[in-house]
């Protein structure tokens, strides 16, 4: 089962949050600062995974960092994908779902690019909290990403 979906931009702001199992809240800012805590965990774990191991290729390039793919929090598993531009996509599912990397990639490569980057009326740099453009809230993105996630066999 997929519980929720988050996107963070490269300035550490949560630019999209969507809950699937408890109501249908979109971009709801809750008191518990879920997104901020999640980002904090992500940041620390990313550091750890980079520090403990890295891939060394002999081609002379700088060592590319070990990438974090998922982590479990109690009974949930958070799947993680970071784009080269620093966008972070997170899907929260049950622990028994092993790998949602292709799903995250699809959300990035199809839905984000098509409905945010190609959309001239949507910003690609998101502003602070109180601005009307601080989150992804355009109709097309929400509808299409929802339809995609809900069509997955692991959704229910």
């Amino acid at each position: 089962m997929i519980h929720s979906f988050f996107i963070f931009d490269r300035h550490c702001n949560c630019i999209y949050s969507r809950e699937y199992t408890n109501g249908d809240a979109i971009n709801k800012t809750n008191d518990s600062d879920t997104a901020k805590l999640l980002f904090g965990i992500l940041y620390s774990l990313k550091n750890i995974s980079g520090k403990l191991a890295h891939t060394n290729d002999d081609s002379g390039f700088a060592p590319s960092n070990n990438t974090l793919k998922s982590f479990t929090l109690g009974t949930y598993r958070a799947h993680y994908l970071e784009s080269m531009t620093g966008l972070k996509f997170i899907l929260v599912s049950d622990t028994h779902i092993d790998n949602l990397q292709p799903v995250l990639w699809e959300l990035y490569s199809t839905h984000y690019l098509k409905n945010v980057v190609h959309n001239g009326l949507s910003p690609v740099e998101f502003l602070a909290e109180n601005d009307p453009y601080s989150k992804i809230s355009n109709h097309n993105f929400i509808v299409q990403s929802d339809a995609y996630i809900q069509s997955l066999p692991v959704y229910r």
């Binding site: 959309n119 001239g120 910003p123 502003l127 453009y133 992804i136 355009n138 097309n140």
Partner: protein, 237 residues
């Protein structure tokens, strides 16, 4: 706009002939072009804003620094690179913004007509593709078929006329605006998309002008992304 900017018609011209201008055109990345065209309206707003404010005009004259992510593009509030706040400015509906966008299209239209007609004329003589343009309806067909094919790799979906100089051209999925979606809902999307439409209006007017036809072109969005171009000319036929 078309991802494969038409490689021209596959006619077997003799090898001594110089290659056709339209045949030699390179492929253009559709996404890049689309992004560039989306900058038309914000740029126009910024120009209007700067012109209206004499103080900034003076101070900006000697400023030639490169833009960075946290440096505003103009004195409009929150107008940072990558954001779209500039479109919320009241100036969006101002006439000079629309006129400037329309003027870009008009120039493009004048030049484009020359290119397309050059080709048309050449083939008309040799019995190749291309048609004689004799009356105003032929001009409209030329816009629907050749111009739209060149710009968007598709044709207009519908052409109607009252035979008294008014023409209605319909594109059921107009590429320049089809990917627009405002976070504030469909009404906001439509009102912002309308400003973008002055660009193709200008193109059509430019094409008409190169045939010697003075016309008045407006566009409206009935059901997004269907765009209807209304063309009023003084020619009766």
């Amino acid at each position: 706009m078309s991802s494969t900017a038409g490689p021209g018609s596959g006619t077997t011209s003799s090898s001594e002939e110089a290659p056709d201008i339209l045949d030699t055109q390179s492929y253009v990345n559709a996404a890049s072009l689309q992004f560039l065209l989306q900058e038309l309206v914000p740029t126009s707003i910024r120009v209007s804003h700067k012109l209206a404010d004499t103080n900034t005009l003076l101070s900006l004259a000697d400023k030639d620094e490169t833009s960075t992510i946290d440096k505003p593009l103009s004195s409009i509030p929150n107008d940072l690179p990558g954001t779209v706040n500039v479109l919320d400015l009241a100036a969006l509906d101002q006439d000079d913004v629309s006129l400037r966008v329309e003027a870009y299209g008009y120039t493009l239209g004048l030049k484009l007509a020359e290119l397309l007609l050059y080709k048309n004329t050449r083939f008309a003589g040799t019995g190749g593709p291309g048609s004689k343009i004799v009356d105003i309806l032929d001009i409209m067909k030329f816009v629907c078929r050749d111009v739209w094919k060149c710009l968007y790799n598709k044709q207009m979906d519908n052409l109607r006329t009252n035979h008294r100089g008014t023409f209605v051209l319909v594109d059921n999925n107009y590429k320049l605006i089809s990917s627009l979606s405002s976070p504030k809902g469909i009404h906001d999307t439509v009102s912002k998309a309308k400003v973008h439409l002055w660009f193709p209006c200008g193109i059509i007017r430019g094409i008409l002008k190169s045939f010697g036809v003075d016309g008045n072109v407006t566009a409206e969005i009935t059901q997004f992304p269907v765009v209807t171009f209304n063309i009023y000319t003084s020619i009766n036929n």
